[in-house]
């Protein structure tokens, strides 16, 4: 109080009536600026947080819709068949088995299988497989054309066909591929993308491939624990 009195005394008496309103005005102005600055900052922050949450909500809603729709279209068995068409391990033995089955079906002889060295690049690997096919010229052509319809997927690299009086022999060179499986799924907040039109078309094409048939050996009942007793 004493300070205020001494402050008052410092001001010329002519201006004293202005002292209180002016001080009040300055205090109010300062208060208004700082409070408004704080509140507006809070509002902007909250709005930002709200729009971020709404954006996340939209992503999650879209993701949920896609996953619910795709759940009916992509059965577990369909997806596991994709790993037979595009495998994650060297498929040469399966390919040989498939080629032999196809050859038997089409009445051509298939012999002299040879494999080359593995080529790895990133998550993809390939190996070259060569073999000979013997039959009539049209049979050999039909067989070679059928290679594009069987799983695992291979690409035809080279074919050399030689005709003799008795038969036609083709030396065939194909590449078999395998790719590492994806290791992680996107995080919850990352958007999920539905299958594109091209992917759906390819999916339809892949579903027409003839898959290898595996036989699982099941132990028969009544086998003695110790076969020597």
């Amino acid at each position: 109080m004493k300070n205020l009195e001494s402050l008052k005394k410092m001001v010329p008496s002519k201006f004293r009536p202005m002292l209180v309103p002016l001080t009040t005005f300055l205090v109010l102005l300062f208060l208004s600026i700082s409070v408004i600055k704080f509140l507006v900052g809070s509002v902007i922050g909250q709005r930002g947080s709200l729009s971020e949450n709404i954006k996340n909500e939209n992503i999650l809603k879209q993701k949920q819709t896609i996953l619910q729709e795709i759940s009916d279209q992509l059965s577990a068995s369909a997806v596991s068949s994709f790993t037979l068409i595009v495998p994650d391990k060297n498929p040469v033995l399966i390919s040989v088995s498939q080629y032999k089955s196809l050859a038997a079906l089409q009445g051509v002889a298939i012999t002299n299988f040879k494999t080359g060295a593995e080529n790895s690049k990133g998550d993809s690997s390939s190996v070259q497989l060569t073999f000979e096919v013997t039959g009539t010229f049209p049979q050999v052509l039909v067989f070679l054309n059928s290679l594009r319809t069987i799983a695992p997927l291979t690409s035809l690299d080279k074919v050399r066909i030689a005709q003799s009086i008795v038969s036609t022999k083709a030396e065939v060179s194909v590449s078999a591929y395998w790719f590492a499986l994806p290791q992680k799924i996107p995080s919850i907040n990352e958007p999920s993308y539905d299958l594109t039109q091209n992917e759906r078309e390819l999916l339809g094409k892949l579903s027409t491939f003839s898959l290898p048939s595996f036989v699982t050996a099941v132990p028969s009942l009544g086998v003695a624990r110790d076969p020597f007793k």
């Binding site: 201006f15 993701k63 049209p138 052509l141 690299d157």
Partner: protein
């Protein structure tokens, strides 16, 4: 009504303009207080509404996250399917030789009956084929067939031999690639 008495010395009395400014400042202060409280109340209300909205959206997000977690197996299937389709696409793009073999089958089916196909080599470059024709008539029929077919975009006669005991041996390079 009593008379107003000013005991202050004349030189100490506030001038008219200062009194006016002080009066205006008082009015401004009152206005500022009103604006301050009204503005504060409005901004406070906005903050309250926004925080309620944030809470609602967060609740919805939590629910959606739980639902998506329950669909994790489906998401794994989708990721795997997309990955395998992409890889299958890269293999299927390497289909030039397969397509050439398919074209060869079409070409072979259109050949006249009296021609004999000798050696064939199908590679990334195209198809090299040697064809035996016993006489000039069948040779002309063969060339007419090759020209009339629209299977190949490029046809080259790379060799032409005549053997009196066999006939005409034509070496052709066929390709469905653009020149």
């Amino acid at each position: 009504m009593g008379n107003s008495i000013n005991l202050l010395p004349v030189d100490l009395a506030p001038t008219g303009s200062i009194a006016k400014i002080a009066n205006t400042l008082r009015k401004v202060n009152v206005l500022l207080i009103i604006v301050f409280f009204t503005g504060g109340a409005i901004i406070g209300a906005i903050l309250l509404v926004t925080s309620i909205q944030i809470r609602q959206v967060s609740l919805s997000n939590n629910k959606l996250t739980t639902n998506i977690k329950s669909l994790e197996k489906t998401e794994q299937r989708l990721v795997l399917a997309k990955d395998r389709i992409d890889k299958a696409g890269t293999i299927l793009k390497k289909n030039f030789v397969s397509n050439e073999v398919q074209n060869l089958q079409g070409f072979y089916s259109q050949l006249p009956e009296d021609v004999v196909v000798g050696e064939v080599e199908v590679s990334e470059k195209g198809t090299d084929i040697s064809i035996l024709t016993t006489n000039s008539l069948s040779l002309s029929r063969l060339l007419a067939t090759v020209v009339s077919l629209s299977i190949y975009k490029r046809v080259e006669l790379i060799s032409f031999n005549y053997n009196p005991s066999l006939g005409f041996i034509s070496g052709l390079h066929l390709s469905s690639k653009d020149i």
